[in-house]
Amino acid sequence: MSEISQADVERAIRTTCATVLRNEHYFADLDGLAGDGDFGTSLATGFRQIEKEWDDIPKTDIGALLLKISMLVSKHVGGSSGPIWGTGFMKAAMLTRGKTEITLADLAAMLGSAIEGIQARGGAKLGDKTLLDALIPVHQALEAGGDPAAALKQAATVADNAVDETRGLVAHRGRASQVGERSANTPDPGIVAIATILQDWCKDRGIERTPTAPEVAKATA
């Protein structure tokens, strides 16, 4: 039985574009705390391009759509985010070739494959204080199945929690990892971004939820 239509996916991507562009400077500032301050700009450059080329992006099926997104990210996003997000979308695309609708289980599988790809690319593990610390619990939430709306709300909640749970950790990957202990007590911008995107998806879907992490609250305000 179908749970998520291609229209849903397209709408989620447009919402994501809005989230990233709205937070271009805020995400950059967060990256400036322990990293090099380019995260917001790098990501926004890619999603601004996706917005711009939206009408020409193939809509034949979800796989074609995501493959093009992945290529646009590889082409326009610099910093670690380019290879990381590009790899993620690429993996998700491969599992959706030819599909115009997917189930929640499919979505979980897509994210699982994206996580594997990102780990292979950047060598990060759970607890290294990267966006994987948000994606991995989100993946579990989706795997738990149930009503898609409820699952999405749960996904947003675990990602939101990840911001505070990882705040105290020392980053082991990315620019922030090169400052050692100095990265502790700063939120990881990648985790904040994932949590913010999911929170915006909830809002867009009319799912009531109040952010807990102050950064997510600020980014969705």
Binding site: D29, D38, G79, R175, Q178
Partner: protein
């Protein structure tokens, strides 16, 4: 933010255009991939040496393209690794039957971008290898992190590999030279002020009126500690101590010393630092064979400087002596 900037989003392509306009016979520019390649292109029989990294470090990296230096280079946005496609296109544009060596400064973003680009190029049968530069002693290495950062020592790797490639040495040999230079070069820097990436519009970090960042990274990453400003000799002593005890260098070594300005520090101050570093080197029993005082790897307009020491041998001395030509010039 007061800068000579038009649309911040166009800052990188615009300054690259200026570099090419100023060097029409030397360089060619592909705006789509923020890529600059020698006008003469790669030469078969000679290894191509390429690089690509974030912008804001000028004259690194595209201004190091030219005979005896890089074959080509691409730029990311300010302080962001280049997009994967830029790296891939740069490898292709510099493809040579003798092979392509990519000199990657050791940052996660740069490494992942070049990893993907190299995989794509190798899949097409291009003979390309990566070498990771990590000369910054400020942040200690550990199995957890991606390791030490690549900073101003990069210049020496480029200069020596570029010269070896020009001589027609093989990819194995040029890679071995990169490894030798990287193993014998060490750097540490101090920031007196922050800097403002045009697209960000605000300082990348905050320093108090009397604060300095000891061991700062070239993207404003925190280093060893915050401290209060000391006099030039004291700051130079700390840099010299950190750098010279790392290889370790020993009495009798022949060395090259670089005092690199981070962008906002006047030339006169760099020479105040050099005067002290030179004294310390002689006291340590080093013979200073060559010196480099100026801007080689900057962080936009950041006020500050880094000290680099390279331990030389006959081979490296010859490679540093070799002629080269680049967009960075005086006459």
């Amino acid at each position: 933010m007061k800068k000579f900037v038009n649309d911040p989003a166009q800052f990188v392509p615009e300054f690259m255009q200026g570099i090419v306009d100023a060097n029409p016979d030397l360089l060619s520019f592909t705006p789509e991939f923020q890529m600059i390649v020698r006008k003469s292109g790669p030469s078969n029989g000679k290894v191509s040496v390429v690089q690509g990294s974030g912008s804001g470090h000028e004259p690194a990296h595209v201004m190091a393209v030219g005979p005896g230096l890089l074959t080509g280079a691409c730029q990311g946005a300010v302080f962001a690794a280049p997009a994967v496609d830029s790296c891939y296109e740069t490898i292709k544009a510099c493809n040579s039957d003798a092979g392509v060596l990519v000199l990657v400064n050791n940052y996660q973003g740069d490494r992942m971008a070049w990893d993907m680009a190299c995989e794509m190029a190798q899949a097409e049968g291009i003979n390309v290898r990566q070498f990771w530069i990590n000369d910054d002693v400020a942040v200690e290495d550990s199995t957890w992190t991606v390791g030490r950062r690549g900073v101003a020592g990069n210049f020496f790797v480029i200069k020596c590999c570029g010269a070896a490639a020009e001589q027609g040495q093989s990819l194995d040999q040029v890679e071995a030279i990169a490894d030798k230079v990287n193993k014998n070069v060490r750097t540490m820097g101090i920031a007196l002020t922050s800097c403002i990436p045009p697209a960000k519009g605000t300082p990348i970090f905050d320093l108090g009126d009397d604060e300095i960042e000891v061991g700062v990274g070239i993207h404003g990453e925190p280093g060893r500690r915050r401290d209060t400003i000391k006099n030039a000799d004291a700051l130079t002593e700390e840099l010299f101590e950190a750098v010279s005890t790392d290889v370790p260098f020993k009495s009798g070594d022949r060395v090259a010393i670089m005092v690199n300005g981070l962008g906002g520090t006047p030339i006169s101050e760099l020479y105040v630092i050099y005067a002290k570093a030179h004294k310390l080197a002689e006291a340590a029993g080093f013979t200073v064979v060559r010196n480099y005082v100026g801007e080689y790897c900057t962080s936009l307009e950041m006020a500050g400087a880094s000290l680099t020491i390279l331990k030389l041998d006959a081979e490296l001395e010859k490679l540093l002596d070799a002629p080269a030509e680049s967009a960075a010039r005086i006459f």
